[in-house]
Amino acid sequence: MSILKFENVTKIYPGNFMALEETNIVIESGEFLSIVGHSGSGKSTLLKLIYAEEQVTAGHVYFNERPVDAIKQKHLPYYRRNIGTVFQDFKLLPQKTAFENVAYALEVSDETPEEIAELVPEILEIVGMSDKANKYPRQLSGGEQQKICLARALVRKPLVIIADEPTGNLDPVATWEIIQLLMKINSMGTTIILATHNKDIVDKLNRRVIALDKGKVIRDHQKGRYAI
């Protein structure tokens, strides 16, 4: 069963900028998909359409067979809880500790304090950050912050994790730690969609690769290598 489906999706930003044109993509549950392309090729737009930060101009995006554009504004927060997101600039709340940042994702979805006290340490253990739980983001390295982001994305057991250049600000060692964590999460059944510029990563992953250029899919290989 496909977890995500792009059907003739076109996205035009104000000012007549065409970000995506007639795009068709089907993503199966449990896939580890890399999306490559130059800056401005439409990678980020594609991801934003999935977590409904942007709305399609034409066509449809289906999540679990359900059109995302049909979700009412006030139900979007509930929809987003199915999707974990990780970004290049981490997006951690600066006034919260590592533990509180992860816990926040659970607090907004009405989990009980008991569940939070149980789940958060568990997830921090998986990403190897148990000993940094009480540190604030500014006290952590880039790699460590990204692991907290992964923990936050993971803690609600989402069906899909979207990673938009998660290693863009990291050194090679931290980069590999993050990619290995993503692979580990994928092996537990979560679908991963990774947008990246990093050739090494894509080549070593040896998984499905979609290449975008000027808003169009120019290549879609099941065991792909980095090529634009």
């Binding site: 930060e53 927060p77 997101t85 997006k91 600066p94 926040y104 994702a105 907004v108 009405d110």
Partner: protein
């Protein structure tokens, strides 16, 4: 909203308030300064009014009768005058009472008592002391009395002597009222504007956090509530700060205002109105804090 969520967002608001030390300090300062200026303007306006009312109560016009006029005649005239709608009260002061009062005034002045002793008889005239409802009505009253049937019995009216003082006071009252009202309106407007902008800046500092909160699936209400609580905290802290500042100001001004406001000074005014001042500050602080916050946050919550 469930109570668990309410509790969580309350704690969020409290954490925001505590952890953004400088931002909270700046916002509270601006809010407190605005509230302080507004309340000082209002309190000064109110006490100026009380002071002027007190002075106004002390103004009167006396009509003196010839010493030969019998008391019944004067009381008869008094009864006639009671019918005037401009007159608030009339008091009869007999020769003897006048002498009594005069002696009291001269208590510390032996030359006055000595002079009275030398005259041997009571040189003072009986009088009717008239108070008008409004200081600018004395003119009308004295004119009416001068042309009344009993005007021949009158020795003199001291209105002309008091006229300039009464006129000046009337003008001051009008001016204080106008200036106070204008300043009040201007300060309230400025205060609201400054507070609104300060809180907008605070919200702007949180801008990226709103995006993050939405991304992890927080509903708009859940994002908004902590800032509503934060606004409430701003209001409460500012109100307390302003109460302290007002206390200090009253202490400072107390010696200048002794005896002028309802018999006490500005400090006693502060204490006798403590609850109502604090309640209004609290309400306006909370109202300003949360309203500006909610309006400011709206633009960051559009999807």
């Amino acid at each position: 909203m469930k109570s668990a969520k309410l509790k969580r967002t309350f704690r969020e608001g409290l954490d925001n308030f505590r952890r953004n030390g400088w931002l909270s300090f700046a916002t509270v300062s601006v809010l407190a300064i605005s509230l302080y200026v507004i309340s000082v303007t209002i309190i000064l306006g109110i006490s100026a009014n009380i002071v002027l009312k007190n002075i106004q109560d002390k103004i009167n016009v006396s009509m003196y009768f010839d010493a030969t006029i019998p008391e019944e005649r004067i009381l008869d005239i008094k009864n006639q005058l009671i019918g005037y709608q401009e007159i608030q009260s009339i008091e009869y002061v007999s020769k003897e009472q006048a002498l009594e009062q005069f002696k009291k005034l001269g208590d510390n002045n032996p030359s006055i008592t000595q002079a009275l002793d030398e005259i041997g008889e009571n040189p003072l005239l009986p009088a009717l002391v008239i108070k008008a409802k409004n200081p600018n009505q004395y003119d009308i009253i004295t004119k009416a009395i001068s042309s009344a049937s009993f005007s021949e019995d009158i020795n003199r009216i001291d209105y002309q002597e008091n006229k300039s003082a009464i006129d000046r006071l009337t003008n001051i009252m009008k001016l204080v009222e106008q200036v106070g009202l204008t300043l009040g309106v201007v300060f309230v407007f400025i205060g609201v504007l400054i507070t609104f902008n300060a809180i907008r800046l605070t919200m702007y500092a949180h801008k990226q956090e709103f995006e993050i909160m939405r991304l992890v699936g927080a509903s708009n209400t859940y994002i908004k509530m902590p800032f509503v609580f934060e606004g409430i905290f701003y209001g409460i802290v500012s109100a307390v700060v302003v109460m302290i500042c007002l206390y200090a100001t009253s202490m400072f001004l107390a010696p200048l205002t002794r005896g002028s406001i309802g018999g006490g000074d500005i400090l006693s005014f502060y204490f006798s109105n403590f609850l109502i001042i604090f309640a209004s500050l609290l309400l306006s602080g909370i109202f300003l804090g949360t309203l500006s916050g909610v309006i400011a946050i709206r633009r960051y919550l559009k999807i």
